[in-house]
Symmetry: C2
Subunit: 347 residues, 2 copies
Amino acid sequence: MRQSATDRPPTMADVARVAGVSHQTVSRVLSGHPNVRKATRAGVQRAIDELGYRRNSAARALATRRTRTLGVIAVNTTFHGPASTLSGLEGAAREQGYLVSAVSLRTIDKDALTQAMTHLATWGVEGVVVITSQRQAVDALAELRTPFPVVTVEGGHSLALPGVALDQYLGARLVTEHLLAVGHETVWHVAGPQDWLEAEARTAGWRAALEDAGAPVPPALVGDWSPLSGFRIGQQLAGRAGRRSGPDPRLSAVFVANDQMALGVLRALSEAGVRTPADVAVAGFDDIPEAEFFPPPLTTVRQDFGAIGRASIRLLIDRIEERAVRETHLTVAPQLIVRASTARPIA
Amino acid sequence: MRQSATDRPPTMADVARVAGVSHQTVSRVLSGHPNVRKATRAGVQRAIDELGYRRNSAARALATRRTRTLGVIAVNTTFHGPASTLSGLEGAAREQGYLVSAVSLRTIDKDALTQAMTHLATWGVEGVVVITSQRQAVDALAELRTPFPVVTVEGGHSLALPGVALDQYLGARLVTEHLLAVGHETVWHVAGPQDWLEAEARTAGWRAALEDAGAPVPPALVGDWSPLSGFRIGQQLAGRAGRRSGPDPRLSAVFVANDQMALGVLRALSEAGVRTPADVAVAGFDDIPEAEFFPPPLTTVRQDFGAIGRASIRLLIDRIEERAVRETHLTVAPQLIVRASTARPIA
DNA sequence: TGGAGAAGTGTGAGCGCTAACACAGACGAA
DNA sequence: TTCGTCTGTGTTAGCGCTCACACTTCTCCA
């Protein structure tokens, strides 16, 4: 990878000159065209190595009208879920020879989304993955016209746009059914903000599981995903633990819509002297790395973020390269992880 | 943003034709050149809007030899620290009109680093930020020759390369001094893997604080950043809590090198019936969002990842645009966050 | 031995933009 | 007036690559 002494990086013409062939032959070698004699190929390769030549992607993009660049738009990539999805996505794209550029937004209203799209479009991305967990993002997206394909992640399957999502509904059912199976009369629920599709689906799954089992359905308590909101709700829950308060069913198990809130709930219960799982069982959702070491280790639902990232890239590249395959909505299966926080209560 | 009826997106020539000027005038309008009459500018702008024209970045890059693209190489972007840094970095770059592409690696040996650099170089990045927390990454980086500037984050200040880092040493001192100040005879330390520069600096800061205070220096116990390793080490610590075992000083306070391990330590202590902070005070490092709700809420050191990201982009763009400013090493100050896990023991 | 077809290579014209220069007209100073 | 200078605009030549085609050699079979 020797750097040429001159100021400018070597061009294809330089390589051609050194190898004693035309620039077109160099191009053929570079793109693995079959009709090149072995000796010629070797000579060109030698020249390339000698000069430390590297194809100029801008010129290539200009000539081919293909940038081989993908965009990603996401909210709050500092959290475990989006960050993991992003990472899986980037790896999958790189494998396919694409460059990916992510735009990380604080909020995802229509303006911010449009702006992010413009930014990416300016750079000539051939497609975009939008991690659209919030309803407003989905709505904004639905109205947006783009000159390239768009794929959603966690955007629900109601959209015309193709998308990948974890089966949140199933995950919530699994947790709820597990809690009922270990002997709880019913399961309370700390929900995520209902403008989040994931939160909504988890709530729906929980409700369906209870109804199917003929269990009473307590009111859902709504948090904002943060440990603090979990803590506040946990304090309310602690007050009615084990008791039958008013019209509501007895509280002995709680399904919390994410692990961070579950941490807050656990803390509030413990401060109030309510034991987990002896008095109240608690389950979460996400399986963040810390969940295994919560007090007590948390039963939760694991999401395969890597798989979600890979699947969305596949969907997107299918569309860009106009492959025949036309799946539009992929679902990734969740996995129930049972830990001490829902251990069977001593009968 | 009307999409033209023809297959191809409009070019500068199309805009020029519609506006009745030359393509060069369009170019001047687009790049804000002053010498364009107001009326001409308006006419061109109207044509741009009408056609939904957008500058082709590949052609622009080819003509200017500037791609306005930056690369980022990082390990394990799924963790809170790197993910936050990345996010801050991306925002800062976008503000400056740059596109950023991140490559997320699993391990950062020389091979992987070279490959990532090649990938980014192929796409013509004008500079790269490498988040190099591990010694081997720094070593590999030192040997690498690149045709563009490189800036490190958390790479220590020993390198010839410019870089940004949090003052890990100071952070560790602050925690340790705080623990001594609340009355502990000495402070034990659960360290991160010593091939990580951050871990090393935290250990050094802890040791220096103890030595300066004339406190005995217990052996450092080395973990791998994971909650599990913290748990294992916590079990060992629980065994000697409050006791003076062999030659080692009394254990009443522990400084853990990151919050995740601290969670494991807390759990191990609590399982062994050791109370925090009554029997043993525990402090962490990072201030992850969960730390405030640990059992008990964790005293820790907050890092301003956003600031780190912004600073590194500034350093990089300074170099790319060859500005006069030549700071080479920036340090971001840490902030001690005191919570219940180190509350003053009842004397 | 000839000629069709394949294999291997070269030529020229763009891709859509910016940089450099050319040039016309307006304006103030000598 | 006459020049210089500034303003506003157009013209031309690339940037480094690929695509389409032309051309030269082979190969093989009638």
